[in-house]
């Protein structure tokens, strides 16, 4: 099939077709949620959402708005399919992952609909690669039912302050405990590992704190192995919002600025760990 900007007129119209001058705008975001092999893609006229879940406890979503693409068209109300994210990422980065200034991989993505594979046309420096990735029946996704009206505590931090903390989390600890409070210690991350406990405290008046809205003291524990992958999203982002609701469900929203200065979002939702014992102070 010759590489062309327009779909062939005689063929069935593509249910989803998109063009992106710089595939990295998509691949870097997808890497931030790549902690399982499979992902569910959901496309509407407003853009593309890629969801990855694990253990029925954690869900990550990467949002790429239609405006990021040079061309984005969805012929139905919504298009949804399950795909192997590892393969998708390998294809998007088929020309290599190093970002040399001036060179970028152009992407064209086409999907004919249910049962059809996802077609990727990638071009860099005159070389074209065509990939066909099989799609699968989409799984039912978790609904964390997390809406802004139910939020008990919310803070917005500059990612710079958290990056090192997350990268150095004591992985011998089974849980990551998050305390948010209108009083001291305000915002505390704690681990309980083999060497002993470690606490990381961020005061409410820190320069890193962009917004601090804590109404109630809450301490929740989350399985550290589930949250560790969010470090990738944190590394890409400039700001992160941390919210908890009355049940202790955690929402992490990362604001990511891409190479062209456009804003995209990645969010992680996590259930609190069921085996909660008295928190160690």
């Amino acid at each position: 099939m010759p590489f062309s900007a327009q779909p062939p007129a005689s063929a069935e119209p593509y249910v989803l077709s998109a063009s992106l001058d710089n595939a990295r705008h998509l691949s870097s975001l997808l890497r931030a949620v790549h902690f399982q092999d499979h992902a569910t893609c959901f496309a509407t006229a407003s853009g593309l959402r890629v969801t990855v879940e694990d253990a029925k406890c954690i869900q990550a979503n990467a949002f790429v708005q239609a405006e990021i693409f040079q061309e984005f068209s969805v012929q139905e109300e919504s298009v949804m399919f399950r795909i192997n994210l590892s393969v998708l990422l390998d294809c998007l980065t088929i020309f290599g992952t190093s970002s040399m200034p001036g060179t970028s991989t152009a992407l064209r993505m086409c999907y004919r609909g249910y049962g059809y594979p996802l077609m990727l046309f990638l071009e860099e420096g005159g070389v074209v690669t065509v990939c066909k990735i099989n799609t699968q029946e989409p799984d039912e996704l978790l609904d964390f039912d997390f809406c802004s009206t139910k939020v008990v505590n919310k803070i917005i931090l500059q990612s710079e302050g958290l990056r090192e903390a997350f990268a150095e989390l004591d992985m011998t600890s089974e849980v990551l405990q998050i305390t948010m409070s209108p009083d001291k210690p305000y915002f505390r991350l704690s681990t309980f590992g083999n060497a002993g406990s470690a606490h990381l405290d961020y005061p409410r008046d820190s320069d890193l704190m962009e917004a601090f809205h804590c109404n109630q003291t809450q301490t929740n524990r989350y399985k550290i192995s589930l949250l560790k992958p969010s470090t990738k999203a944190l590394a890409l982002s400039c700001k992160v919002s941390i919210r908890t609701d009355a049940q202790g469900f955690l929402s992490l929203q990362y604001m990511i600025r891409n190479e062209d200065g456009q804003i995209c979002f990645v969010e992680y939702y996590c259930c609190p760990d069921e085996n909660i014992s008295e928190a160690e102070v």
Partner: protein, 344 residues
């Protein structure tokens, strides 16, 4: 210190905070003494007439984990607070970082006895002092797998590091050596000290004596005193002679006895509890400060080393080891045979 042992001994004293380590075969000991001036605030705690200052040991890995990435630490950490909480059984290390962020690590510790090697730099026959750089540059030529090196003072004021190179006397800051002397020591622990010395730009002083007597490396600064004591190979030709001239507490020469003793205390070690790991070799005599043990009452020049082994096997081991007279931390041929087989 992590190149030497798996456990870090912390001992606050009136003259500063001492951090020490010893290796499992007790053939290497190092201590870093930070004078109170080194710290912004130094409070060793309360001592009464009967109580000693509290001391403890922690796992080296746990302690190092707190200071994981040095370059970022230098940029982000303003100050570090170290607190010993005996009742909570925790050593608290609190790092105050930029943006008001506080990192608190509560490390579990174990109580321990005082760890001190027996050595006296004044009694050493030879002394060399050199900027660490000189030795570091010399050692660049050594194969990285080299386990031991022999330092020899030769005629014409030449100092050699067998068998790789000669250094002239004038490359050293000061030389006061007995001619024709030589010592052989393990490189593993020494390399650690050398890189520290190079990084802190301090001159290194080497105190040594006869083969078999320990070699002491020291670094001195206004706020820091570092000692590294390494056992040296005793001369193979004169093993029994040098052993007796040193007045060494050594195991009886017939190796059968040694094997028997070894078996009996290994058996005792397995059955007893609360014993610290590692074979207490005769490299440093294991005195305990308890006056009840009549053999061990001798208070040498600060000789109170080691974590006391369980009483039961201690008597079995010391029964064969302790000889009256001045004990010195010399090594016996049996132990060194193991070392030179490349496990340095």
């Amino acid at each position: 210190l992590s190149r030497i042992g798996d456990e870090l001994y912390l001992e606050p004293t009136d003259s500063g905070l001492s951090l020490r380590a010893v290796n499992s075969s007790r053939s290497a000991f190092a201590s870093f003494l930070f004078a109170p001036l080194f710290f912004q605030l130094y409070e060793p705690g309360f001592t009464g007439p009967d109580t000693e200052l509290f001391r403890c040991k922690v796992h080296m890995k746990s302690f190092l984990g707190v200071f994981r990435s040095l370059p970022s630490l230098e940029k982000s950490v303003g100050k570090c607070l170290i607190l010993l909480k005996p009742r909570a059984c925790r050593l608290v290390l609190q790092l105050h970082c930029k943006y008001g962020v506080t990192k608190t690590h509560n490390l579990a510790f174990q109580e321990c006895e005082r760890l001190q090697a027996v050595f006296d730099t004044q009694s050493c026959a030879s002394r060399l002092c050199t900027p660490a750089r000189v030795l570091a540059e010399a050692m660049v030529h050594f194969p990285p797998t080299l386990a031991e090196v022999t330092l020899q003072t030769g005629p014409g004021g030449k100092i050699s590091l067998q068998n790789y190179l000669w250094l002239a006397e004038d490359e050293f800051q000061s030389v006061a050596v007995a001619p024709g002397s030589h010592i052989t020591f393990c490189l593993k622990e020494f390399r650690g000290l050398l890189s520290f010395a190079e990084a802190s730009n301090l001159p290194l002083t080497i105190h040594f004596d006869e083969p078999g007597r320990p070699v002491v490396f020291t670094l001195d600064d206004t706020v820091l005193e570092v000692h590294l004591v390494l056992a040296t190979l005793s001369d193979l030709e004169s093993d029994s002679q040098s052993a007796s001239t040193n007045g060494v507490s050594h195991l009886p020469t017939p190796s059968d006895d040694f094997a028997d003793d070894l078996e009996s205390y290994m058996a005792a070690m397995e059955t007893s509890e609360g014993v610290s790991g590692g074979l207490p070799s005769p490299a440093f005599p294991l005195h305990t400060p308890r006056p009840a043990e009549s053999d061990l009452e001798e208070e040498e020049e600060g000789a109170v080393p080691g974590t006391p082994p369980h009483k039961k096997f201690r008597s079995l081991f010391f029964g064969s080891v302790m000889t009256p007279g001045r004990p010195s931390p010399a090594t016996t041929q049996e132990v060194l045979a193991e070392d030179s087989e490349g496990e340095c």
